[in-house]
Symmetry: C2
């Protein structure tokens, strides 16, 4: 049964270290236990993405209750106590057996739908359900050495992908064709779908050329894109890749759950001086932020530095596109992790954070130039996950 | 700016017909209005998937409030009243301007996360928020002639895909390679990612061979698959496609938002008599259900017919796999639409329903045989969306 099966189990010590941090936060907050259900969080604390509930009490051993598939959860998870459950009721009685009296139990209320919440409320009475999604996101924000290794694997695949772009790309091909070829390249290397935490956001691949990289969308990022139709109105579309227009490759491969996020610009033939200048401004912003972003520095001050430089360059009105007021975001098991480097958003830089820093300039009709690199916050500022990747516009 | 841009606008009369049905249901339920936010529902009632809120009062013109992108919502949506809003507060005051006094307002509480719900609650006070997701799902369950045409387009692409399989498939290739090649074929033809409504469910492509098609997973469907790692533990994996094992191609292309769902079995060289017999039983079940499922018939009785036939065949313990007790589901803008044809789930067949009927037999170590076809419920029973597609096992 195990021919060719690939598993990448999160080490036991790693899981218990993460759980320990969470338990400490729960104790401080006066919460009896947490019940983790969302896939990314469940994977983080248990090592499995099966249909399971993880009960983490303030002290002692957590209990992984698996509805489906129990056998696979046993293979995936290095936790001590893993049991099979059949129903919601089963889960309830197991929890009641572990927790006594009143008190608070934490759940991920940023993602849990209202109707499901009502069922949990009934199941967990007299416990009061409180939100622990903020705490979980803060713990996950600081990457462990094990996680940094996972991110480096995703970064290696990203570097491989960019090295292949000149072999994939052809003048006159559609964006979706280029995107599909890159997707196939990554797919056979174990790439998986990125997870996004925010409600109603959907995955989209931003391989965009010329005006389409400046085409607005619902997405709270600098670029949008037409997508393929009005029900999938984002990312690559039917537009043909032409000459003398910037081709934006913004892709975050995902390996073993972990993703990085990088953007590079290509062009068939030269681009206008204006676009080249704006691109260089983006690179200067990136380098300056990478130097400044030492532990203790506030994200909102980094944002202000970037805006200041964009203003000085004369391209301020094109910076980050339509009403978007951030320049970077955390990545890991989800595309939209903490921290966010944004206007008036106060958050102190800490070692172990990741930042996908993406200063970009968006010119309607002409397209998008700029850069995105994923960094690790270290004592000396930002350390790139792919140090050797050229960030100049690649003229083909 | 419009070079190559593809839009497929939902016709105006279509939108107002759908809204009219919803308004009637709201009136009957004594609900003042509904506020629609989820992407599939928003697309259904407004024609756009931009970041927008659609307020549907019990009578009169709905109001589409668009945060981003207003320009694109204007292009996409044939609704009368479309306005730009900047913030949550803006949305609140627009609603307050349209609705007076107390009363109930409907939202999609099956998908809306708790924390967001709290914000809406404050915004909408003194209105009481009630769940209208059931009503919306029931309306969407009955497809209009326009939607049936959209489904036929997706079915045509599916037929094209199956016709190409013999050209893609090679003995010894991995499942993810075959899957990636099919994905590329569909991608350049406008395929988009399927939407799934249920919490914590994720897209997965079930191109599986031999034992891996019988490998259990968290998914509430007959097949699972190893996936590529423990954080993406479902669907195609690294397993190589071998000889004399069933190769399952279960794929639902999505065009203009609409999807169908079909499965075919291939094999390099013959399969055992047992597998061939089980496959034929699945075909008999499909044909019998297709004849019986006339309007008025109850889904649970259809399920019982299928189970009865599985029992008679001697393969009952392999029917539908690990603890799964359904044989079909609706498809449309989402993969998990109503109706569900399941054990003890009472639902009367009605013209305009879609059913992806998927009797399958799962044999650990050997794999999965069986079929999936998407049908329309008509006065005469089920009408297949792809009538000419051979449902025998294709020996390569």
């Amino acid at each position: 049964m195990t021919e060719q099966k690939q598993t990448s189990c999160t080490p036991r010590e790693e899981l218990y270290e993460r759980i320990g941090k969470f338990q400490e936060r729960l104790r401080k907050a006066g919460i009896q236990a947490a019940l983790v259900v969302q896939k990314a969080d469940l994977f983080y604390f248990s090592g499995t993405c099966q249909d399971a509930h993880l009960l983490i009490p303030t002290q002692g051993e957590p209990l992984l209750m698996v509805r489906k598939s129990y056998e696979r959860a046993l293979e995936d998870s290095a936790l001590e106590k893993i049991i099979a459950v059949r129903s919601f009721k089963d889960i309830g009685s197991n929890i009641a057996g572990m927790l006594t009296g009143n008190g608070k139990i934490g759940m991920e209320l940023d993602v849990l739908p209202v109707n499901l919440f009502s069922r949990y409320k009934k199941m967990l009475e007299p416990l009061e359900i409180v939100d622990v999604s903020g705490v979980i996101r803060e713990i996950r924000m600081i990457k462990t050495p094990y996680e940094i290794d996972c991110l480096r694997d995703a970064a290696s695949l990203t570097a491989e992908m960019f090295a292949e772009i000149p072999n994939f790309i052809e003048e006159g091909m559609t964006e979706i064709e280029l995107s599909g070829k890159i997707e196939l390249f990554l797919r056979v290397r174990g790439n998986q779908y990125p997870r996004i935490r925010a409600f109603n956001q959907e995955l989209s691949i931003h391989i965009l050329s010329g005006w389409n990289a400046a085409y607005p969308s619902y997405f709270d990022g600098p670029t949008g894109g037409s997508g393929v139709n009005s029900s999938s109105p984002i990312g690559s579309g039917y537009k043909k890749i032409g000459r003398n227009e910037p081709i934006l490759i913004d892709y975050g491969p995902v390996l073993n759950g972990y993703m990085v996020d990088h953007t590079r610009i290509y062009s068939f033939g030269p681009l206008s001086d204006k676009l080249m200048e704006a691109h260089n401004t983006a690179l200067e912003i990136k380098r300056r932020i990478a130097r400044e972003a030492k532990p203790g520095l506030d994200g909102k001050d980094l944002y202000d530095i970037a805006i200041g430089m964009a203003e000085q360059s004369g391209f301020a009105q094109h910076f980050m596109g339509y009403g978007v007021s951030f320049i970077g975001h955390g990545v890991g098991l989800e595309l939209d992790e903490l921290p966010v480097i944004a206007r008036n958003y106060s958050i102190k830089m800490q070692p172990g954070m990741t930042i996908a820093l993406e200063p970009k300039f968006i010119f309607p009709d002409e397209g998008t130039v700029g850069i995105e690199d994923t960094f690790l916050v270290t004592e000396n500022g930002l350390e790139p996950f792919i140090p050797a990747l050229d960030d100049a516009i690649q003229i083909l």
